[in-house]
């Protein structure tokens, strides 16, 4: 299956509907549990529009900007947490969007482990392919994951 086939499949629709919902709710619950002081709902208001306008890079810029400019510690911590959800480096927690997407790609055979490959060119090629798949599915999943996240946050706060 190609990544385009996957994005057009029922598997992907179910991933958006169920897996992303579960992960986003888990992310909210973790944030609420780990932070005595919670960020106000207003902090989330810009997220859907920013995602719609510029996708992952725009959300990342918003997060970095909010993290740096906010004078309130509670908001800084919120944006640090939010940035961890879109961290693509592999260090993100299990409930983060990037982690969920990576796991789903593995399940679909669209993420290949390059650990056993010794040929440098082949290793680089695989990395590029994996990265391409990750970016494509991340971008497509981003609006739904954060729809789940913001609605659950609104509800639980």
């Amino acid at each position: 299956m190609t990544v385009s086939d996957y994005l057009a499949s029922d598997e992907f629709r179910r991933f958006q509907d169920e897996t992303l919902h579960r992960l986003a709710c888990q992310a909210v619950e973790t944030y609420l549990h780990d932070h005595a002081e919670k960020a106000a709902k207003t902090q989330l208001h810009a997220i859907p529009a920013v995602i719609q306008a510029g996708g992952l890079s725009a959300l990342n810029s918003l997060g970095v900007n909010q993290q740096d400019k906010n004078t309130k510690q509670v908001n800084k911590k919120f944006w640090t947490f939010l940035l961890s959800l879109i961290d693509k480096t592999g260090a993100a927690p299990a409930y983060a969007l990037a982690s969920g997407v990576r796991e789903e790609l593995s399940r679909q055979g669209l993420w290949q482990d390059d650990a056993g490959i010794t040929d440098k060119n082949e290793k680089n090629r695989l990395k590029k392919v994996n990265q391409h798949h990750l970016e494509a599915v991340l971008e497509a999943s981003l609006p739904i994951y954060f729809e789940h996240f913001t609605c659950h946050y609104f509800y639980r706060l």
């Binding site: 499949s9 789940h148 509800y155």
Partner: protein
């Protein structure tokens, strides 16, 4: 995806058995939300959406944006979300794990459910007025 007659029959049987719960939800909604337009919005969303989780998100969003002093959706949201979860579990059982069938069955169940809830909501409103 077109569901088989056998699956549609199983959905109907489940919804028949689920009716008392839908009735409770309709009555709770009538007590909490006498404004019909909000329930019509829910009904329209359930009928038109292609994604089941959008229904859950709608309810959470409605509850989340209310002022604490005047909770309406907040009073009914936990039970509505619990019922939707039961529909989702039933869809997983009926679909045999096929993703397309799961999604189709969930939406079919949700549409049957909302008809029951809205009918009981309107009927309960009659009794209140």
């Amino acid at each position: 995806m077109t569901l088989s007659m056998e699956t549609l029959r199983e959905i109907d049987i489940f919804l028949e058995e689920f009716y008392p719960q839908s009735q409770t939800a309709g009555r709770e909604l009538a007590r909490a939300l006498p404004e019909k337009s909000q329930i019509r919005n829910l009904e329209t969303l359930v009928i038109s959406t292609r994604r089941f989780s959008e229904i859950k998100n709608f309810i959470k969003n409605q509850a989340g944006k209310e002022k604490e002093a005047n909770p309406q959706w907040r009073r009914v949201a936990p039970n509505l979300l619990k019922q939707l979860e039961e529909l989702e579990n039933q869809a997983a059982t009926l679909s045999g794990g096929d993703p397309g069938r799961t999604l189709a069955i969930k939406l079919h169940l949700a549409r049957g459910w909302v008809k029951q809830v809205v009918a009981n909501y309107l009927f309960a409103l009659l009794g209140q007025n």
